[in-house]
């Protein structure tokens, strides 16, 4: 393996490009996030000049519509739970960037309010859906805060329900 790829270049591992971003003909794709076993890929693409969350089944690339991420662009920092039941990302609301979590099984939307003196920069949803980590900017400094979601979300565990389509939404 070292001979083929060159030791300095690092190991060659099986790989593929995530491919075109479905029907959106996006040319650039950022901030990838896979569900626990790789069935779902969330990423951020330009749609009408606005950074928009895109959820696709892998490896087909089939785009699944999300109910609560149609507006409030730019979207950023997507994160998925084990079976892709929960989709979390940052959205724009007024002057603030705030985390939203969509439950694809029920269609429910969960918001994380933040004090006005801080804005969210990045997030990470624990695969089981028990916790959310949010990087915020406050007073010119970055901080990371953890939030407990156990009173809000049912756990999404490995081997749990496998969503076939877009939850309650119709697949494109």
């Amino acid at each position: 393996m070292c001979v083929l790829a060159g030791c300095d270049a690092g190991a060659w591992l099986p790989r593929r490009n995530a491919g075109p971003a479905g029907v959106l003909s996006a040319t650039s794709r950022q901030e990838p996030a896979l569900s626990g076993q790789g069935r779902w890929l969330a990423s951020v693409v330009e749609r009408g000049g606005r950074a928009t969350l895109l959820l696709q089944e892998q490896p087909s690339g089939r785009v699944v519509q999300l109910r609560h991420f149609q507006n409030h662009q730019p979207h950023s920092s997507p994160s998925l739970s084990w079976n892709g039941r929960y989709v979390a990302a940052l959205v724009q609301q007024g002057n603030q960037r705030l985390p939203l979590i969509e439950d694809r099984a029920t269609g429910a939307l969960h918001r994380l309010p933040l004090p006005a003196d801080r804005t969210a920069v990045r997030l990470s949803l624990a695969p089981e859906g028990r916790r959310l980590a949010v990087q915020v900017a406050q007073g010119g400094q970055w901080r990371v805060q953890l939030f407990d979601l156990s009173n809000l979300l049912e756990p999404d565990l490995p081997g749990g329900i496998a969503l076939q389509g877009g939850g309650l939404d119709t697949p494109r």
Binding site: L13, S43, W82, H110, W142, R143, L146
Partner: protein
Amino acid sequence: MKSLLPTTVLALLLAGCLGPVPMPIGPLNGRIEALGANRDPALSGRWLALISGRGGREQVQLLDLERQQPVPVPGLNRADAQPVSVSIDAAGERIALVRQLEGRTELVLYRRSLQSLQPIAMVPSGVPRQVQLQADGRQLAVQVSRGGLWQVDLVQIP
């Protein structure tokens, strides 16, 4: 801890009006604050990996959220490397890291039980930026700059 109070108060007020909202985890947030200025959190299983800066130098930190304490990652950080993006699997075994070292940006995979670091080549060549390891640790997604475009590569990990 004092600075976390506004979030807690806001969450409690909203919980009274709107039903349950996410609650800050006070003791753990205190532990995280103690590390310094933090960015790029990655949660998986009982683990939180993040990039933590103190005194102008950044490094990857790993926290065990159940024991509420930092876990050593020998061989992962280098004094002359700048971490860019980090991610961990649910078992806490594999850590994917994009870092800048000696003028180039590289993707490496760290195995905690072996304390080993393996570079992962970009094929075709490109500059990695942001990485995410899926929770079962068997595949990673990496944002790569190629020819002025951002692309996403999916890399299987044996």
